[in-house]
């Protein structure tokens, strides 16, 4: 792929020539590329932060909940298990400006969720959070189940309040699980593709075009294999850098060998 990214290769026009770092030089000055970088990073930071916070909150709520826990767990699994294209289609109708449930719940305002450049990215982030928050919640909940109740008993005997227990027992014990969730979710979010692809096509005005959508368009719609490969290399480098950073952090935690 690295080799391909150094070529101009467009099979339709039988163009195959070496261009060296030409594609990368073009990307450095390509406004569309930098917009895609900004969209990708914004999407990743905001959606992962929300997913972790909400997932943790849901896990803690599940821990306290008695009846209905099985039902809640199945509902969470359902949201997580839906194929992402199905999720995207579901949100297409939820966000429908005149008949969508979201606008009906908001009192019938015709909010233009997917057609307004300021709202489209937040709307996609909300859909992504809905879809992947259960993953974080289930991971945290599984870890919570392994904390022996005696630990909390002992703390209660020592006169610790709820908040104190959360801060000095629950969260420290969840730390490594949260780091793993963070790693998985970040790597996934950096490659975000189907929600944008189905719901907005990267629009309006490229407000939701991520790096993978840009790469897809270059590779499969316009068949600029060399240029698309250069974008692929950039995505790969980005994902590797983030993964390496996390793995280093995890190793410090003593989680990864």
């Amino acid at each position: 792929m690295l080799w391909l990214s150094l070529q101009q290769r467009i099979p339709i026009f039988r163009i195959a020539r070496f261009v060296g770092l030409g594609h990368y030089a073009f990307l450095a000055g390509d406004a569309r590329f930098w917009n895609a970088v900004r969209v990708t990073l914004t999407f990743t930071l905001v959606s992962v932060a929300l997913e972790l916070a909400l997932g943790l909150a849901v896990a803690l709520a599940l821990q306290r909940q008695g009846a209905g826990r099985r039902l809640a767990l199945s509902l969470l699994l359902l949201a997580w298990a839906l194929p992402s294209v199905v999720t995207a289609k579901l949100f297409e109708w939820l966000y429908h400006p005149s008949a969508g449930l979201v606008n009906v719940l908001l009192g019938g305002h015709a909010v233009n969720w997917l057609g307004d450049p300021r709202l489209a990215l937040p709307a996609l982030i909300a859909a992504d959070v809905w879809r992947t928050m259960p993953f974080v919640a289930l991971l945290c909940y599984a870890r919570l189940l392994t904390i022996p109740p005696e630990v909390y008993e002992a703390a209660r005997v020592d006169g610790a309040g709820r908040l104190a227990m959360l801060g000095s027992i629950t969260l420290p014990l969840l730390r490594s699980v949260l780091l793993i969730a963070l790693l998985f979710r970040t790597l996934d979010a950096l490659r975000a593709f189907d929600l944008m692809y189905v719901l907005t096509g990267g629009g309006p005005a490229n407000a939701t075009e991520t790096l993978t959508v840009y790469a897809y368009r270059s590779l499969f719609q316009t068949l600029q294999l060399g240029f698309g490969a250069a974008l692929g290399v950039v995505i790969f480098a980005l994902v590797m850098a983030v993964a390496w950073g996390y793995l280093a952090a995890l190793r410090r935690e003593g989680v990864a060998a």
């Binding site: 400006p97 008949a99 057609g115 593709f193 096509g201 990267g202 993978t212 499969f220 719609q221 068949l223």
Partner: protein, 423 residues
């Protein structure tokens, strides 16, 4: 497709490992086509009939997903890899010159004479031929039309609008009289995708200009192109179209009109079958008109679309494959498209006057006239590249991120840059 799968596909394609699947048995023709939407799929019956007429030939039909992007992706990966795994393809008209230029299609000229193409709409024939050779046979026809609520217009004594300004006046008049704040004016497709380019091209033609001039110059008249784009933005600014058309595709705009919540919608012929279906709130209240024009430009030019039948150049059975293509494009097979319950319109003009066809699809005589006046999108191997390059610019003008003149200037610059790199 999951995100992971998308990336894997990228990697797989780049590694060139889209290897040929197992060989089909001798005299088995594989037909790859888009899944046919609608209550009735005419393809299986037609294929069995072809087999009866050609003893020894078996046809296996392999449907692809219905999204055009995914079909394109499938064909590109497999044809570029030289795969002989399928023989006959159903291609969106805008891909024909692209695939022909790439050398992926069998040149049908030795089999198909000009006379054989004559019964099809001229726009369909134009899209099937490129560089003086025949690369595909037309199968179904699509044309952009304006649907209007004939009951609402008749109540005010109005006929269908001939210019866009007239349409704007009619919307104001009807809305004031109906006193229904939920009744939208005109709906069209403004999402950042191929449909936006189609809608914009129709406004360009209405203004008397185009995207790719006869001398291969891009945006030959930026002034008129700007006026067209500014008018589209103006429809939203003036409240004639709801703001959400900037996210609207065919189905999202077809449904509100079908529910009786819009006076006009720009759509394709398939929509009429749904508007006139039993139980539809607008049944019997829908008129069909040519798209309006702009002052000084031509009136009533819709864009054509549809699918063409083509043969994979790597086929092991060229004669049988060509026979299948000619059978499916023939009058007998195209008549099957006009059966009740099939929402596909044929490319053979004569069928539009056929009594049985018109009984099943009353819009056919009108669609015939509109398809005759229609234009194909630029017939060039660069079309898909051009379309993806201008989509973000047109979208930016519609949502107000860029002024129309800026969007047209930027679109022109990126098109010229792209074409220079290819020549």
């Amino acid at each position: 497709m999951s995100r992971g799968a998308a990336l894997l596909l990228v990697l797989a394609a780049l590694a060139g490992c889209a290897g040929p699947p197992p060989d089909p048995a001798p005299a088995t023709i594989v037909f790859k086509h888009a899944k046919i939407l609608g209550p009735l799929d005419p393809i299986p019956g037609l294929l069995r009939e072809f087999e009866r007429r050609h003893p020894g030939v078996t046809v296996r039909s392999e449907p692809l997903t219905w999204t055009s992007d995914e079909q394109h992706q499938f064909f590109v990966i497999n044809l570029d890899g030289g795969s002989p795994a399928f023989d006959v393809l159903l291609l969106d008209v805008i891909w024909v010159p692209e695939f022909a230029q790439a050398g992926w299609l069998l040149d049908l000229s030795p089999w198909v004479t000009r006379e054989e193409l004559a019964p099809h709409f001229p726009a369909a024939v134009a899209a099937a031929t490129w560089g003086g050779r025949v690369w595909g046979l037309p199968w179904n026809m699509n044309v952009g039309v304006l649907y209007y609520r004939s009951d609402l217009l008749a109540r005010r004594g109005l006929g269908p609008p001939r210019t866009w300004e007239e349409l704007v006046e009619q919307v104001a008049l009807i809305r004031a009289a109906e006193r229904d704040p939920k009744l939208d004016g005109v709906l069209w497709q403004g999402k950042q995708y191929e449909g936006l380019v189609v809608n914009t091209l129709e406004h360009f033609w209405g203004e008397g200009t185009t995207l790719l001039g006869d001398d291969d110059r891009v945006l030959p008249d930026p002034g008129r192109a700007t006026a067209a784009l500014a008018f589209m933005r103006g429809l939203i600014d003036r409240g004639v179209s709801p703001g959400w058309v900037t996210a609207g595709d065919e189905e999202l705009t077809r449904r509100p009109f079908g529910d009786g919540r819009a006076i006009f919608v720009r759509s394709w012929p398939y929509a009429l079958d749904l508007f006139e279906a039993p139980g539809s709130p607008v049944r019997g209240k829908v008129g069909i008109a040519a798209l309006p024009g702009h002052p000084g430009g031509a009136a009533g030019i819709g864009a054509t679309g549809g699918f063409h039948l083509a043969v994979n150049r790597r086929t092991r059975h060229p004669d049988a494959a060509v026979a299948l293509v000619r059978f499916l494009a023939g009058e007998h097979a195209q008549r099957a498209l006009t059966a009740p319950g099939v929402a596909l319109y044929p490319t053979r003009e004569a069928l539009y006057q056929d009594a049985d066809a018109v009984r099943a699809h009353p819009g056919m005589p009108r669609f015939h006239d509109l398809a005759l006046a229609a234009h194909p999108r630029p017939v060039t191997p660069y079309y898909l590249m051009m379309s993806t390059a201008v989509q973000p610019e047109f979208s930016a003008a519609l949502v107000g991120v860029k002024r129309p003149e800026r969007a047209i200037a930027d679109a022109g610059r990126s098109l010229r840059h792209m074409l220079e790199n290819l020549r």
